[in-house]
Each structure stands twice: as structure tokens, then as C-alpha cells.
């Protein structure tokens, strides 16, 4: 068992080191093949650990310079290992093709080398068995992903994104670090604590720290702002991994912490629930308005994080009030959604990456008509859309179903005050779901359907087969996971949580075939492909179509309070007294609320302090001696005072 595991680690390491050390043309195909092997092996390796009977297995035990490191697998980590295995398989299939079409030379080696290492670091985070090991791998994950985000460093936006990412990830480290230190103080050991409880304020403080640390990493609002900058800036396979796997890894940590470290408490639950609701609703609101295809996907990751947080929060609340059945349902929903989100978000990012590369733009308004040009890519994207829009029986539906069930179930169980909270959560949750559908109708419809709106989109061509084979794997798993969800839950030992969607799927399939057959046999089969309604214009032009902004305008109007706009204008004058107006520009733009009202003010404040402090260093030796003089006086005063 542990040998096999070490072999898998070796495979990942090898596939990371090979392109970093050997500079041969297309060496990354070799590395990809190894990574495929690693992914498949990892999936197979983790499957038996899922069984209800399997206990925690220690795979490796050692010391990292006096600190204990344990690597072990249990059922929760096995679930995420499988996700990681599948994602690495599909990314490995996808990456070589993507790299071939990327510009720059040396960075290709770096990207292809860092991807497996990044995956490995996440694997180790998931399998870490001591808080110290967790911290080590968590940090490695952060730094590796930072370098990957930085790939296209020539672009100003990328550098901004990576700096933002680094700052936030450092902040996350601060919290996680602190949380782990506090746990170490409370328990006196580096082992994962088990169900801490008690009135020690340190316990709650440690929870808060860990939660905020994880929240930053998984893009919980208001700590999210780095995410829509960083995820799109990275090359698409990396975006897929960051959105698909890194967020899942953070969520794994959340599950581990919330369910394992602390005795569930009401306060914990409501805290998570509140952040979850905020994240889900605002995340999808921002996603809806986003014009950058990858940015839209990134925001949608935030919204899914929110959904998962809601599930986790519900778990804590229900557990604290003593409804284990409901709690289990909520947690199952959250975990399942985390997995399925990993899958379909990976799928969406990979296919979106192909599209962006082919069209040479990430702006949805400049796309259109891609489906005809890239049918495979488009088809798999569509499956991703169906999943994320939680269309039954695709996988995205299951998580929402379970969480909704537990919410509605909780409605009839809890005390009146909590019921009201549940209603609020319920309506926000469903609002999120509906807006997600709208968002992805926009994302799919305006990107793939209708007429191309730019030259780039017109010239887009289908990618080579491995680049849609990777997404195909994800699409298959994503669909299968939904269809067989009932069976999967029974296999895991939780039967009867949800209706049998296999039947639903078969019914849908059968009915469609029946309807088709009926229409085919009884109705007229005459078909013509022509111009349909063209308003009397001779040919519909792409300029007549709805754009992304137009599409979402009604929602923006409905939720005007949330989308704050800001008017900007610049004027130029002919004379210095600013009397003779020369020219100017003006407009309205959507306010980046969190960035402009939260992040930038803080950054400016810190910068002000920094400039204040660095003005101490003014180059004047007299000033320097003065510091010494004053300090000595103060010290003498302290001496006299303390005696």
C-alpha cells in the first residue's frame, strides 16, 4: 500500500522534474504520459479507501527537521484524491496541446514541470496527517501556484494578478499558520486534534484563524478578490487546476477542520453559513456581469464555494441541534458538490481555454459562433454548463439537491427563529441557483452560439484530439457521477439520501427517443436550412445580436443596489485656467466594490505607513545619530524608572 503510494509520488515528481531538467523539444509529452499514469494509479489506489469499512491508513511517517510528518489516507481524503487523480489525468492529456500553441519557449518547460509538482503538493495537503505537514504542503501549494500564475509575466495584468494573489495567499498563510500554532498550544501535539471543545477562547480563536485562512484560499467573499484576477491570468490547464483542485483542496481542509477538529457548535455553523450565503449570492452576481470568459468561470467558482460553505454550515448547525440525519445530508451535499465542482469547473476551464486560445481573446463579446467551428470543445463545454447549472441528472444537481433537501427538512424541525434563518438561506440559495443558470446561458449562448463577433472568433478552429480528450474524461465522469449518484451513495454506505437519478436519466432518455420517434414517424419530415426571421434586413449581422452586457442588463437593473456604478470623466482644457474646454471623455463603469472600498484603501493605508516609516531613512547622518541619542535617553529613563 505505502509502496504503491510512494510510487505514485515518484511518478508525479518525475513528470515534474523531467521537463525542468531536460531541454528537449516536446519533452512535456513524456511528462504528460507519466502524469496520466500517476493520475490513473492514484484514482485506483484511492478507490478501495472509500469503502465504508476502510479505516485510516498511514502511508508514511517521518520527521521533517524535528517536526513530525505523517501521510495517511482516510475516506474523506480518498474522495479528494480521486478527484485529483481524474483531474491530473485530464490535464495531462490537455496540457501538451495547449503548450504547443502557447508562445514563449522556456516557460513551457517551467509550466509543464510545475503542474505535476503543484498537483503533488495538493495531494500531500490532502493526505497530510499532522498539522505541521499540512502547513508545509499548504505553503508549497501556494508558492507553486504563484509561479504558475506568473507564467505570462510580460503582461501588466498578470503581474498585478500574481501580486494580488501572493498578498492574499500570504494573508491566508498568516491565518493558517496562526491557527495551527494555536492548536499546537491547546493540544500540545502536531497531530490533528479530535473534536476540540470547551470554553478555552484559544479554541475558538484557532477555528477562526483556520477558517479565515481557508476562506481566503477558497475565495470566500470578502476575501475573494484575488481569485478572479489570478485564475484567468494563469494558462488554462493551470486555471483548471486552481479552480478545480486548489479550491477543492481548501474545501477539503474546511471539511477536515469543521467536521474533525471541533465539536460542532452553533456559532461555528452560523459563521460559516453567513459567509456561505454572502459568497454564493455575490459570487454569482459578479459572475453574471463578467465579460471575461475565464473571469466568469472564476467568479462562478466563488459562488460554488459559497454553496459548499452553506452545506458545511448547515452540517454544523444541524449537528449542534442534534439532527444527525439532516446534518449528514447537508455534509454529503457539500462534499459531493465540492467534488463535482472540481470536475465540471476543470472541464469548463479546459474547454474555455481551448476556445480562448483559438479565438485569441477572452472577451465574451468578441466570441460567438464557436460551436459550429469547434463542435467537440463546444459539446463538452455544454456538458459542463448542464452540470454547473445543476440540471438533473448531471453532477452539479446532486449537491444542490442534497443541500436543498436538508434546508427544507430543517424548516420543519427547528425552532421558529432558526426556521426564519433557514427561509432566508433557502431563498438566497435558490437565487444563487437561478442566477447560475442565467450566467451560464450567457456564457454558453454568447460564446458558442449565433454569429462570430470578431475576426478571431471567425478564424477559430477545432483543437487536436488530446485537447478535447482531457475534457471528455471530465465530462464523462461529471455526467456519470450525477447519473449514478444514488448507487454511489449506497456504495459509500449512505443509501436513501436522494432519489434514484439513474431512473430519471433513463426516463429522460427514453422519453426523448419516444418523442423523437413519434414525431419522426407521424409528422412531416420536410426540413429546410435557410435564413429565418431577419427583420427585413438582407442578412443578419453579428452587430445586431445581443452582447454579453446586453444580455445581463435586466438582471443588473433588478439588482441595481448590488451593482454600484461610478461615473468618471476626464476633461482637457486649452488654457491653464481651465476655462476653454478642449476635449474630454466620460462614462459609467461598474464599481469593483470590494477592490475599491476594501482592498485598495487597506493597501493605501499600509503604503502610507510604509512611506512614513521609510522616511526615517532619509540619508542624513545627523538624523541617524539623533535616533541613537533619543533611544539612549529613553533607555536611561526606563532604567531609572524600573529601579
Amino acid at each position: 500500500m505505502s509502496e504503491l503510494f510512494l510510487f505514485i509520488v515518484l511518478l508525479y515528481t518525475l513528470s515534474g522534474v523531467i521537463p525542468l531538467c531536460i531541454r528537449k523539444k516536446r519533452i512535456w509529452s513524456v511528462s504528460s504520459i507519466i502524469m496520466c499514469g500517476g493520475g490513473i494509479l492514484l484514482t485506483l489506489f484511492s478507490l478501495p479507501c472509500l469503502l465504508p469499512s476502510s479505516a485510516k491508513t498511514i502511508l508514511f511517517q517521518g520527521e521533517w527537521v524535528t517536526f513530525p510528518i505523517t501521510i495517511g489516507i482516510d475516506r474523506l481524503s480518498a474522495v479528494f484524491c480521486i478527484l485529483l487523480g481524474i483531474l491530473s489525468l485530464s490535464v495531462a492529456l490537455y496540457t501538451p496541446g495547449y503548450l504547443d500553441r502557447m508562445h514563449g519557449n522556456r516557460r513551457k518547460y517551467v509550466v509543464s514541470g510545475f503542474i505535476p509538482l503543484f498537483l503533488l503538493s495538493m495531494l500531500l495537503v490532502i493526505l497530510a496527517g499532522t498539522t505541521f505537514a499540512f502547513l508545509v504542503f499548504w505553503e508549497l501549494m501556494a508558492i507553486l501556484s504563484f509561479f504558475l500564475v506568473l507564467t505570462e509575466f510580460e503582461e501588466e495584468k498578470t503581474r498585478y494578478a500574481s501580486l494580488f494573489y501572493l498578498a492574499m495567499t500570504q494573508l491566508s498563510t498568516v491565518f493558517v499558520f496562526l491557527g495551527i500554532l494555536l492548536i499546537r498550544m491547546v493540544t500540545g501535539s502536531w497531530e490533528y486534534p479530535a473534536l476540540l471543545s470547551g470554553n478555552d477562547p484559544l479554541i475558538f480563536l484557532s477555528f477562526l484563524c483556520l477558517f479565515f485562512g481557508i476562506a481566503i484560499k477558497s475565495g470566500v467573499i470578502p476575501f475573494h478578490k484575488w481569485l478572479p484576477h489570478a485564475h484567468p491570468a494563469a494558462p488554462s490547464p493551470v486555471s483548471a487546476l486552481m479552480s478545480g483542485m486548489m479550491i477543492s483542496t481548501a474545501l477539503y481542509a474546511l471539511f477536515r477542520v469543521v467536521t474533525g477538529f471541533y465539536t460542532p457548535g452553533v456559532v461555528y455553523g452560523f459563521l460559516i453559513l453567513a459567509f456561505g450565503c454572502l459568497t454564493a449570492v455575490l459570487g454569482v452576481m459578479y459572475a453574471l456581469k463578467e465579460q471575461d470568459l475565464k473571469g466568469l468561470l472564476a467568479y462562478s467558482s466563488i459562488d460554488n464555494t459559497g454553496i459548499i460553505l452553506i452545506g458545511t454550515g448547515l452540517w454544523a448547525v444541524f449537528s449542534a441541534f442534534g439532527y444527525p440525519a439532516l446534518a449528514l445530508m447537508a455534509l454529503a451535499g457539500a462534499v459531493f458538490h465540492a467534488i463535482s465542482h472540481g470536475l465540471f469547473k476543470g472541464l469548463l476551464f479546459l474547454t474555455a481555454g481551448s476556445v480562448c486560445q483559438a479565438a485569441g481573446t477572452r472577451n465574451i463579446d468578441e466570441m460567438g459562433g464557436i460551436l459550429v467551428r469547434m463542435p467537440w470543445t463546444g459539446g463538452f463545454f455544454f456538458i459542463g454548463v448542464l452540470s454547473i447549472a445543476s440540471i438533473p441528472p448531471f453532477s452539479g444537481f446532486i449537491g444542490e439537491l442534497l443541500i436543498l433537501q436538508s434546508l427544507i427538512g430543517g424548516l420543519s424541525e427547528l425552532s421558529p427563529l432558526l426556521q426564519i434563518v433557514m427561509v432566508v438561506v433557502l431563498s438566497l440559495f435558490s437565487l444563487t441557483g437561478a442566477l447560475t443558470v442565467t450566467t451560464f446561458v450567457k456564457a454558453f449562448g454568447l460564446t458558442f452560439l449565433a454569429l462570430p463577433r470578431s475576426e478571431g472568433a471567425k478564424k477559430a478552429r477545432e483543437v487536436p484530439w488530446p485537447m478535447y480528450a482531457g475534457p471528455a474524461v471530465l465530462a464523462g465522469v461529471s455526467a456519470g457521477l450525477g447519473i449514478f449518484s444514488g448507487q454511489i451513495f449506497s456504495f459509500l454506505g449512505y443509501p436513501g439520501l436522494l432519489p434514484d437519478l439513474l431512473v430519471l436519466f433513463l426516463l429522460l432518455l427514453g422519453t426523448t427517443i419516444l418523442v423523437y420517434a413519434a414525431v419522426w414517424s407521424y409528422a412531416s419530415r420536410k426540413t429546410r436550412i435557410t435564413r429565418t426571421w431577419d427583420c427585413g434586413m438582407m442578412a443578419p449581422s453579428s452587430r445586431m445580436e445581443y452582447t454579453g452586457s446586453g444580455f445581463t442588463e435586466p438582471v443588473v437593473r433588478f439588482f441595481g443596489a448590488l451593482y454600484r456604478t461610478r461615473i468618471f470623466s476626464t476633461r482637457e482644457y486649452l488654457d491653464p485656467h481651465q476655462c476653454l474646454y478642449k476635449s474630454g471623455t466620460g462614462g459609467i463603469r461598474l464599481m469593483k466594490y470590494f477592490e475599491e472600498c476594501l482592498y485598495l484603501p487597506i493597501a493605501r493605508r499600509i503604503d502610507r505607513y510604509a512611506s512614513l516609516v521609510s522616511s526615517l531613512q532619509n540619508g542624513d547622518v545627523d538624523r541617524y545619530v539623533l535616533y541613537v541619542f533619543c533611544t539612549v535617553l529613553v533607555l536611561i529613563l526606563i532604567l531609572g524608572w524600573s529601579a
Binding site: 502547513l135 501588466e156 501572493l166 500554532l181 541617524y624 526606563i638
Partner: protein, 489 residues
């Protein structure tokens, strides 16, 4: 009497440097001296039996540890200097005549540092520390530019004036011991032995005054002002030594002195004093880092930050904290020296020492891929990424500090985050600058002797950061015990 070899070798080398005048031989001698010191140190470390043979040397785990760090840094710097100084001479930045001054000063500096570490007497220690100031000031000014002379003068003024206070402290200490035992003494070991009986008021005065000078020596705020300028303007080989070895001399003094304090009644006050200064140091350094536009100033401020962090470990005063403080010292020296070396390559590439104003770095990855990558690795190490030693010492010291107050690690971690952002922000701002086609400088080919020490130091720091070298733990624990702190870690 193995230890006697240190001064003997130093003398021999200095004599040879007087006789031999060719550039080659001078640089060769420059390498031989620290490497020999390194070998002797290693020998001493593995054979504890010979430690107590000479009354003129204080040889214990602690001094050997600091000496080890020092000789590693000096060896690396001397190897680096072979190529670096050669480049300076070729480009005309360094006059041929100054060459001998440089190598002579370099060897003398090593000798002074060695003596400072091994001397059993506090006053002698003070004198050697003063000597290191003078000699490093000489090395800083060796390029004879307005900026370097300015920096070196500031160094002398701030450090020497502060060091005078230290001497007052030493006198107080002496008097305190005399009051207790009737016979004054300045031997580290004896004072440590007598520490418990000393008058608390006297001892506290002694400590505070002593602290002023050595804080200035190790760049503790507000005595740090000389450091960013001196380290930034010195030739990179010298900056590395200053940051990696000379700062440690100051810390060594504070360590020993705190060890003495540990046995007295005033340790609580000393601890608070150290922690407060450490936190002030770290905050000033980290915030200043955010505004630095020059690479070497940035790295220099990061040295201040790290010194503050080591002092935090000392201030906490538990054996665990001291253990990790020593560990941090080792790791920081290796990483910082490596970083200054990388920065030196960039300075050669972009001719920075001869210019004023902002660094003009561009086409970084095209012109200097090696320096760029090692710089990146060094920054990652400074930020405290796992695989590098600073991460571990961060965990160790912060864990110990959490026992004092939970807010210390929170605050310090935020400062570390700040420093990390500052480093990366700088790196990001230079990495993408492109010179217009044809206007960039010709690539500077760094000789192998400049690349080798960087690789060695980075490898060394990764080794330290990932595995415990056999006996390392026991050795460090013993070093902590030598200082007068408890035995167990």
C-alpha cells in the same frame, strides 16, 4: 591547541599577502584563509576533547556554531570575490592599487571576527567587534565612490558611538561582578557562573548599555540606519559577509549577554526589552521594505527584519526559542549571502554601483537567467517557504512566542507577509522590464566562481531546511545550553 591555528593561519596569510602581489595569488590566498578556517572549525566540532586546552580561547558549542556560520559565509564570499573583484578591476571600478587593501582587509576582517567569537573575555570581544566595524567600513569604502564613503562613514559613526555605550555596560558588569565576588572578571564563563548572585540593578544597567552597542552592530531599530546604506552600497561580496557574518557577531554578543541575564532576577525585564525592540525592528524593516526601489536596499532591510526575528527568539528566552533562533541565524546567513551574490551579478550586468538613482534592470531573464532564478529562489526562501530553513525557524520561534502572548505570532506573521509582498513586488516590477531592441546592455557573463557559491549556498540551505544533519540537533541544543539556558528542547 588546534585553535591556535586560527591566528597562525591568519598571520601567515597576511604575511603572504604582503609578499605576493599578483592579483591571482591574492585572490587565491583570500580563498585559502576562510576555507582553512572552515576546515579547522569542522575539525573542532567533531573533536570536543581538545576544546579546553587553551585558556585564550573560549571554545564551546556556541562559539563553534557561530564560527561555522562565519567561515561558511566567508568561504563562499571569497570564492565569489575571485570572479567579482576581477570583474571590478577589469571594468575599472576598482583601482589596481586598492586590490591589496581589499584582500588584506578581507583577511583581517575574518581574523577579527574569529577572535571576537573565540575570545573568552568580554572586553576583548568588544574590541574585536569594534575592529570588525572598522575593517568592514574599509571594505565598504574600497570602491572609493562618494556614495560608498558616505555609507562607510555612517557605519562608523553610528556603530562606534553606540559601541561606546556597550563599553560602559561592560564596565558596569565588571563592577557588578567585583561587588559580588571581590575580584572583577570579564570572562564569559565566570560571569555566567556568578550570574545568579549579581545585583539586579547593576546587571540591568549593564545589559541595557551593552545592548545598545551590539544592537547597533546587528542592525536593530533604531540603531539600524547605517545598515541599509552600508549593505546596499558595498561591493556584493562584502555585503554578503556583512549580512551573513558580521551581523551575527552583534547577535552573538547579545546571545551571550542574555544567557548571563537568564540567571539573574531581571530576566523578565530583559525579555520584555528584547521582545519590544524585536517587534519594533521587524515592523520598521518590513514596512520599509515595501517602499524600496533598489534591490540591495531591499535585501538589506530584510536582514534587519531577520535580525529582529532572531532577537525575538532570544527575547522569549525559552530553550526552544533559542534553538530556533540559532537555526534561523544559520539559515538566514546562507540565504542572505546567496541573495547578495545574485544581486552582485545583476549589479555587474547593469553597472549599478557606478550609477545613482533607481536600478535600471531589464531583460532580466534574457540577460541573466541564472541570477534571476537564484534571486527568485532566494526570495522564496526569505519569504519562508517550506524546504528552506527559515520556514522551520518561523514555526519554532512563533510557537514559542505564542506561549508569551498569542498576539506576537499574529503580528509577526503579518509582518512576514508584508515582507513577502515587498520582495515579490520588487521582483515583479523588474522581471518584465524590456529594453528597446538594441538598447540593452551586452550580456555579462558571470564567471563560474561567481555562480558556484550561489548554488552551494542554496543547496546548503535546502539541505538544512529539509533534513536534520546528524548531530545537528544535539549540537544546537548543546549550544543553547552553553549560553546558560536549559538543556532540553
Amino acid at each position: 591547541m588546534i585553535a591556535i591555528l586560527y591566528p597562525v593561519i591568519a598571520l601567515g596569510i597576511l604575511l603572504l599577502q604582503l609578499i605576493l602581489r599578483t592579483h591571482r595569488s591574492l585572490s587565491l590566498l583570500g580563498v585559502i584563509h576562510p576555507v582553512l578556517s572552515f576546515i579547522i572549525t569542522l575539525y573542532l566540532i567533531v573533536s570536543p576533547a581538545v576544546w579546553n586546552e587553551s585558556p585564550f580561547f573560549l571554545i564551546d558549542h556556541m562559539s563553534l556554531f557561530v564560527m561555522l556560520v562565519t567561515s561558511i559565509i566567508f568561504s563562499a564570499a571569497s570564492i565569489y570575490a575571485v570572479g567579482y573583484i576581477d570583474g571590478l578591476v577589469r571594468s575599472g571600478d576598482l583601482e589596481k592599487r586598492s586590490l591589496r587593501i581589499f584582500y588584506f582587509g578581507f583577511s583581517l576582517l575574518l581574523a577579527a571576527t574569529t577572535m571576537a567569537i573565540f575570545t573568552p573575555n568580554i572586553a576583548l570581544f568588544w574590541i574585536c567587534a569594534e575592529l570588525t566595524t572598522v575593517l568592514s567600513a574599509l571594505l565598504i569604502a574600497v570602491l572609493a565612490l562618494r556614495a560608498t564613503i558616505d555609507a562607510s562613514l555612517k557605519y562608523i559613526f553610528i556603530c562606534s558611538t553606540s559601541m561606546l555605550f556597550s563599553f560602559i555596560g561592560i564596565i558596569f558588569l565588571f563592577e557588578a561582578v567585583r561587588n559580588e565576588t571581590g575580584v572583577g572578571s570579564l570572562e564569559w564563563k565566570e560571569i555566567l557562573h556568578e550570574a545568579a548572585g549579581l545585583d539586579s540593578g547593576m546587571v540591568f544597567i549593564a545589559f541595557v548599555f551593552f545592548f545598545i552597542g551590539f544592537a547597533a552592530k546587528s542592525g536593530i531599530v533604531p540603531f539600524h540606519t547605517w545598515l541599509p546604506e552600508a549593505h546596499a552600497k558595498a561591493p556584493s561580496a562584502v555585503s554578503a559577509v556583512l549580512s551573513g557574518a558580521i551581523l551575527n557577531v552583534g547577535m552573538y554578543g547579545i546571545l551571550r549577554m542574555t544567557g548571563i541575564m537568564q540567571g539573574t532576577e531581571v530576566f523578565g525585564q530583559v525579555s520584555v526589552l528584547l521582545i519590544v525592540f524585536a517587534l519594533i525592528t521587524m515592523s520598521v524593516a518590513c514596512l520599509s521594505m515595501l517602499r524600496q526601489k533598489k534591490l540591495k536596499s531591499l535585501i538589506a532591510f530584510s536582514s534587519i527584519e531577520n535580525m529582529g526575528f532572531i532577537m525575538l527568539g532570544i527575547g522569549i528566552g525559552s530553550p526552544v526559542a533559542l534553538f530556533w533562533a540559532l537555526f534561523h541565524m544559520l539559515g538566514h546567513s546562507c540565504i542572505k549571502a546567496g541573495l547578495f551574490f545574485s544581486a552582485g551579478i545583476l549589479h555587474r550586468q547593469y553597472k549599478i554601483p557606478t550609477r545613482s538613482g533607481e536600478d535600471e534592470i531589464g531583460d532580466l531573464f534574457l540577460l541573466q537567467p541564472f541570477a534571476a532564478v537564484t534571486l527568485m529562489a532566494g526570495c522564496a526562501a526569505l519569504i519562508g517557504m517550506p524546504m528552506f530553513p527559515l520556514f522551520l525557524s518561523k514555526v519554532g520561534i512563533l510557537l514559542a512566542s505564542a506561549e508569551v502572548s498569542v498576539w506576537i505570532p499574529a503580528f509577526v506573521l503579518l509582518l512576514f507577509a508584508c515582507a513577502g509582498v515587498a520582495l515579490v513586488r520588487y521582483y515583479l516590477s523588474v522581471m518584465a522590464v524590456r529594453f528597446p531592441a538594441g538598447e540593452g546592455p551586452a550580456p555579462y557573463k558571470a564567471p563560474f566562481s561567481m555562480n558556484l557559491p550561489i548554488i552551494l549556498l542554496l543547496l546548503l540551505s535546502i539541505v538544512i531546511g529539509t533534513v536534520m544533519i546528524p548531530e545537528e540537533e544535539a549540537f544546537l541544543t548543546a549550544a543553547v545550553a552553553d549560553l546558560g539556558f536549559g538543556v532540553q528542547i
